[in-house]
Symmetry: C2
Subunit: 621 residues, 2 copies
């Protein structure tokens, strides 16, 4: 049975997943190192990954790669069982930096850079975020001004707020950077574009005009060399513009396959959606690892004696301990299946697209929205669960030797990097209200207030996974808490109601009041995003259940559904969806499910299949 569950978890990329696990198992955890030594260690391990073929997965066949976008995310996810600095460094080098060259560049860039990027001869940065602009990247301050006489772009940092900040690979290893800057040619601005800019010479010193500062020690991920970059009129050849979505001719003429600065920018950003999906996956892996340690420990740790027998009680037998760990385990399973759906969608959409203009606009927007929603939910879940695991292990959980403290420190930034979760949640709500119809105010959250005000918005719940199964389930009429159809109906009903209420509020906005109306509804917006993502996640779980007949999995799905309802039961009560009596029954049902899952808890983390060398905490050994 457990083998079947393992197969289900391995999913569509099972072979690649297992090969990636084998590669990871060949590496060994770093000991305690100084920051500089740790950075050096990570860079060495990165080479081992390159030598082991890790970066090939996501790059084009034309350059020796396997062109497997979904696989590249799965391989990244597997790195999340190992050293998280290494995972992030790999993500920076091959996902963000390499991915930007691949997605935003054209053949000339691919030929020139991709081989060195894959082999690690050309370490590089993804230089988007600035000190003054993190979420609002459309308003970056860095400029790239075309000098027609020289045939060069002049890349410049006009002020301290426009320094590139928190840039991975910048402080130590990066040779090149993909720099996002406001493109100016012939005195006209064309919005944010990306250019390849050398930041270090062959000997490792900063390139002329480039100032590099180290971001210094961080809460975690200290094996990644984050830094700050400033450019003082740095000149690069015209060809360094990654010109897939916008080009400048030698005479300075601007051209683009996409009209409109905003539309173009968000199309460019959209090609980078893989980063967010990867972070959600990495967060999931770290969560699994923390739960593996905490649940194994809870299954052997004893504290206090039973009054009847005098025997010491295993702490996982306490209801309070079960309630801390088992709903979190159920949610981790749910998010795993949602992640796989999302990776599949990314893979298929990317594969089907052959030209910039070819993208199915609506599907692409929906993918981005789901990626934003899942990234927010998965990373918040990771932060909360890893914290819970730390506390569940007591003082032992605070020691580095038991791994959880490292996971906590390393994953902490996930909730704000690759998109701040609060901002991402607003994007999700916006996509739902506008039916992914356009880019209006994509990163300008209250742009949507005006948009909604102008439209007759109807809320339609579109089922994402296993549509036929869901349709059948929802068609039932059982009111049992353990009826899957009832559960799905609650999630759908909540999403619809919250969204409709939100649409009504926003529709009252006038151009003058848009900001205030949106701002006053901000908590409502966040709730709508959450309700939507919860529903998408439940559907993914339901679809997975259909592929594997395992009683434990069904219990986990019940626990996910009911603990999610329980957590938001105030809403269900406020809106007459649950009577007080029934709300209390939900709590009781969660307790009962914890008791039923408790005997299987250790098996249910073992099946995650984390290489033992990477989950060898002293307290569980």
């Amino acid at each position: 049975m457990t083998e079947a569950l393992r197969d289900l978890l391995d999913g569509r990329w099972a072979d690649l997943r297992r090969a990636s696990l084998d590669l990871l198992a060949k590496l060994e955890p770093a000991g305690e190192l100084s920051r500089e030594d740790y950075r050096a260690w990570v860079f060495e391990q990165l080479r081992a990954l390159a030598d082991g073929g890790h970066p090939l997965i996501g790059f084009p066949e034309r350059h020796g790669g396997r062109d497997d976008v979904g696989g590249s995310v799965v391989a990244f996810e597997v790195l999340g069982f190992g050293d998280l600095s290494l995972m992030v460094k790999a993500g920076v080098q091959w996902g963000l930096f390499g991915g930007a060259v691949q997605a935003l560049g054209t053949d000339v860039h691919h030929d020139r850079y991709l081989p060195g990027i894959m082999s690690l001869e050309l370490p590089g940065c993804f230089a988007m975020t600035e000190t003054g602009h993190g979420s609002d990247v459309q308003n970056l301050g860095t400029t790239a001004t075309y000098d027609v006489d020289a045939g060069e772009f002049v890349v410049h940092t006009p002020d301290a707020e426009s320094r590139k900040d928190y840039i991975g690979n910048a402080a130590r290893d990066g040779r090149l950077a993909v720099v996002f800057a406001q493109l100016v040619t012939g005195g006209e601005r064309h919005g944010v574009h990306a250019l390849v800019v050398p930041i270090r010479d062959a000997d490792g010193s900063p390139a002329p005009g480039v100032t590099i500062e180290d971001c210094g020690p961080k809460a975690g991920l200290n094996g990644v060399d984050n830094g700050r970059l400033a450019f003082d009129h740095v000149r690069v050849p015209r060809e360094n513009l990654l010109n897939r979505y916008g080009d400048v001719a030698p005479d300075g003429t601007y051209s683009s396959p996409i009209e409109g600065v905003g539309q173009r920018f968000f199309t460019m950003l959209g090609t980078l959606v893989r980063g967010r999906i990867s972070v959600a996956g990495g967060a999931g892996s770290a969560t699994k690892k923390a739960l593996t340690v905490a649940i194994r420990y809870a299954d052997r740790r004893r504290q206090f004696t039973r009054p009847d027998s005098g025997a010491e009680v295993v702490v996982l037998d306490y209801l309070a301990h079960q309630r801390r760990l088992l709903p979190a385990l159920a949610t981790t399973y749910a998010l795993h299946f949602a992640q796989e759906e999302l990776v599949s969608a990314l893979h298929d959409i990317t594969r089907e697209r052959t030209s910039p203009a070819d993208a199915d606009e609506r599907r692409q927007r929906e993918l981005e929205s789901r990626a934003a929603g899942l990234k927010a939910v998965a990373t918040w879940h990771a932060t909360a669960t890893i914290q819970t695991c730390r506390e569940a292990c007591g003082g032992a959980g605070y020691l580095a030797e038991n791994l959880i403290s490292g996971l906590k420190a390393d994953t902490d930034v996930f909730t704000t990097f690759e998109g701040d979760n609060t901002v991402l949640s607003q994007l999700v709500a916006k996509g739902l209200l506008t039916s992914y119809r356009d880019h209006v105010g994509d990163l300008d959250p209250w742009g949507m207030a005006r948009f909604v005000a102008d439209q007759a918005v109807g809320v339609v719940i579109e089922r994402t996974a296993a549509r036929a199964i869901i349709d059948r389930l929802v068609g039932g009429s059982s009111e049992s808490l353990l009826d899957r159809g009832w559960q799905v109906r609650q999630f759908e009903d909540r999403e619809r109601h919250v969204l409709e209420g939100l649409a009504r509020r926003l529709r009252k906005a006038t151009p003058e009041t848009a900001f205030d109306v949106f701002n006053a509804a901000q908590d409502h917006v966040l709730h709508a995003a959450r309700a939507h993502t919860d529903r998408v996640v439940l559907e993914a779980f339901v679809a997975a259940l259909d592929r594997c007949d395992d009683e434990r999995l069904a219990l986990l799905c019940d626990l996910y559904a009911l603990s999610t309802i329980e957590a938001d039961r105030a809403w269900f009560l406020e809106h007459g969806r649950l009577t007080p009596q029934r709300a209390k029954s939900v709590t009781q049902a969660v307790n009962d499910l914890c008791a039923r899952l408790r005997p299987h808890a250790v098996d249910l983390v073992d099946v995650f299949g984390i290489p033992e060398s990477w989950v060898a905490a002293r307290i569980t050994g």
Copy 2:
């Protein structure tokens, strides 16, 4: 106005608090140091505190101290604005180690050890926790067996689970340890007692028979040298027994002023309650520091432009940002006042007691229970708030230079050290149900199930602070959400109802079912403890309001009360205390209060008075 607020916050120990702040301001933050260098730095700073008179506050006048118990907690709290490793190291040396010698020893011990403890000539450990027993210290495995022929105790670690673990000062600096062990004399066990055991020679090498292991790197507090101690038949003179509550005569006869092993043990533990109160205070200081950074930053950071004016919006103007930070600020104020009440109670009870037998049993139990409850609530609040502050500062919050990441790492262990919060919460509920009448199952949570089963338990809400004011408020009949009386009534009503329901459940237990009945009610137990502590905290806030007429303070109190109700509004809905419509009004009222407090937010953190050198984050400077 702000000066009056500052005076209110400074409170009963205002002079001492300001003197402690001055002493702290003379120290400077450590830079980035290796673990060993950091430990050395902390030890040096400890000397500076000793030279500055810090340890005098809490020790007896007879030894040159000021015998000011409450003041010693306040001075510890002030250290929480500085380096938290230093705070904890000071707490280990003078609070736990010195405090144990003081509270459990008699004149001979005081004369022999206190001068060296205060001057730091005798660094020492508080060796209670074992690898296998953290919460359940009554079942420690270490033994101290009296050898009548030699007139010595033989201190022994029988197995790996009985090693002393996580012991501060053990890995590097400690010369002595107060070791908690099962005392055996004449073949009879008398329960846990404490002895002074040398662990290092003058040259720093482990004493014969003592094995010392370093706990290695930790999530935070890496300036504290936590270690593991094992004793292989280590002999100490009979006089090394800290014999205030239990003594062994030269012939091996045991005597104690307190009958009963359990009663004696919990009386001994009770004298150590200051440690928990100190942790709650330290957690409060760290929370204030994180909020100071996050709110100052939120008041200057701009992101996204207003659609009407095109100006970039200050992020603290966003409702979502206000909701993250301002209710947390209000709760921080509330906990500050509750902390001061608790410190005052500790101080007065300690002062009035002149002999071990003299303690007012019930008042002492109530103090311990309130300390347990506030420690749990304050440290969970710290963990949640500091996390929120980190996220509210985005990537900048992840950098060490902005202080929050260090606060997060250092304070993380507060939720489980000096008593695991979940266990402490159960003690609180137990005290309420048994009206603090005895020690039954003090750390054996379901002992109370049997106890309650045997008694007719009536739930009485006893007001703690400003009884007359509360009585008057509660006597009112306004149903306005902003009516203080209504707010207090909600807190009291919830506490009473939750407790009564719990008593009814537990009363069903028989000796055979006690464990299962208690275990099934564990979430109910935790909720009861929370409801009680919330009410005690609100009363402290109300009492403080009566001492200072500041409109902002009244708004903070409203926000604390209503955001607490909002967070648990599912309960209020389930129990018919709030209609759905009214529950929604609570949410709206919280939003409105955030908007009203927003203009004052920076002033309300500035008034915490943290020395600027210790709160100088790069993002706010």
